[in-house]
Amino acid sequence: MRMNYYLQVLTVLGINIILAVSLNLISGYTGQLSLGHATFMGIGAYTATLLTLKLHVPFLLSLIFGAAVAALFGFIIGVPTLRLKGDYLAIATLGFGEIMKNILLNMKITGGPMGLRGIPKVTNIYIVAVAVVIVIFSLNRIMISRVGKSFIAIREDELAAEAMGINTTNYKILAFVIGAFYAGIAGGLYAFLFRYINPNNFGFMKSIEILCMVVLGGMGNTAGAILGAALLTVLPEFLRSVSPVISQYRMVFYGLLLVIMMIVRPQGLLSGTSFYPRYPRRLSVEKSAGKGGQ
């Protein structure tokens, strides 16, 4: 019984890692603050679920299709909003999230506020583990490529990046689309784990939770995002299990801890100076050093 509980927490952790890492691509590496990441997760979850429930599409196919639809929405939302900057972009993404939630709440096919139930349980720790490895590996490949360097250049200085010939709008949209794709995968995994979804699972609070993981771990650091996801997944569970008294005050402590952690370490746990993920940084330093010597 206890073992099952631990496995469940670990599975949820895996899903949260995918979410945190994908938001980190948008907000951490590319520097575009998004307050609506859970929206993409929700689109992935609903698409995958509906495909399986109504059309009996096999799990893997509906998972990927859900992610693709989420990516498509990333594109649709990204094209108009990414012209906005900073806080305005954040608010526009928040607005789209709320609109999408409202649509999900009012559509017949999504079951409205009742949500969708009777989803088969497919997701388990192994599937999530494989997904996490694929996501992190592919993300690292992206980040050491030309595309990843462009993302970081945009975050560091958008004007300078543009002057260097980077089409900043296209790359920002690309970051959004890739992040949305991964979030869609996480959403599909989530639906097939809990076997029940409703629009409130993917609301503003979930977006904030994902953002907190990224910031807590350290923006623009994949290892940090993983650590942040681990902390914010395990911590509430831990607070729940310590004692019934604390369990009652769980969310109060959660809020308090966010404030304290920010005051003690505002740059996040793993971060500050390291702008690149570990492995690409070493690579890029060596490369430029080599070129300098020639």
Binding site: A90, A92, M262, P266
Partner: protein
């Protein structure tokens, strides 16, 4: 008949809009000075409503006293939040105070849930609301009261910012913190004062909305908070007349939109926001910021 209904909706829109404007002012003032989205503002609003509620139900005080108490409670809370959660982070990255604000918001919301329980409570106004008839326009005295109080507060704020010394200091700090400091302005005090005023307005909105809908609950701040913020962005964040206009536009859009598609009431606000941002990326009255290399 059509006109009567039309004007009734206009009055509803104005009433709702003026409360959004009051909330928006709190966001916009803080943003103007600190460039921080104060996510805890929705809980400051909720606290104002509950302090007012306690005054009305427990101490049986009249409405005016409840309003003042609500404003005072929110004011104190806002100043404390700034001191504890934002001031240590003033030199950190922009995102750190944002997360801190979210933490404060979660903390206050859940503390209120523990203290008051999740169920909504009735918020009696302690006076009889009558329907006033001005020919075509019909308005309840409660609506009129809310409108008058909101306008009065906004006029006072306008006077405070443009005609007093501390108002001048606030404008200077918003424009350039370092230079303001060099001119001998104690910016810590100015920031505290800004939080105090903004929060008091939020608290007033909390009490007014509580009385208007005759209910208060710990989660009541969430949507009005978001919409107040939307109103602030709509008008051009950091711009005080912009926040007032943004609030009114939002209230109107919501009331008239709800006539045609009531189930999408909460989405309307955001749709309006995105439309306006697309055509005027810094809001209606926001200034174009020159990009510098």
């Amino acid at each position: 008949m059509f006109f009567q209904q039309f004007f009734a909706q206009v009055m509803n829109g104005l009433t709702l809009g003026s409360t959004y404007a009051l909330i928006a002012l709190g966001y916009t003032m803080v943003y103007g000075i600190l460039e921080l989205i104060n996510f805890a503002h929705s809980e400051i609003y909720m606290t104002g409503a509950f302090v007012g509620l306690i005054m009305v139900t427990v101490y049986k005080l009249p409405f005016a006293a409840a309003l003042l108490a609500g404003m005072a409670g929110s004011c104190i809370l806002g100043v404390i939040i700034e001191k504890v959660a934002y001031r240590p982070l003033r030199k950190a990255t922009r995102i750190a105070p944002l997360i801190s604000a979210i933490g404060v918001s979660i903390f206050l919301q859940n503390a209120a849930l523990l203290i008051f329980g999740p169920q909504a409570r009735a918020f009696p106004a302690n006076f009889n609301s009558v329907s006033l008839n001005f020919g075509l326009v019909q308005i309840s005295s409660l609506q009129l009261l809310i409108l008058v109080i909101s306008v009065l507060l906004m006029v006072t704020l306008h006077f405070l910012i443009h005609k007093t010394k501390i108002g001048q200091a606030m404008r200077a700090t918003a424009q350039d913190k370092e230079t303001a400091q060099l001119m001998g302005i104690k910016i810590d005090r100015v920031i505290s004062f800004t939080f105090a005023i903004g929060s008091a307005l939020g608290g007033a909105a909390g009490v007014l909305v509580g009385v208007y809908f005759n209910s208060a609950d710990p989660m009541m701040g969430f949507f009005p908070g978001l919409k107040g913020f939307v109103a602030a962005v709509l008008g051009g964040i950091g711009n005080i007349p912009g926040a007032m206009i943004g609030g009114l536009i939002l209230g109107m859009a919501e009331v008239f939109g709800a006539v045609y598609m009531s189930q999408y009431k909460d989405a309307i606000a955001f749709a309006v926001l995105i439309l306006i941002l697309l055509f005027k990326p810094t809001g209606l009255m926001g200034q174009r910021i020159q990009e510098k290399v």
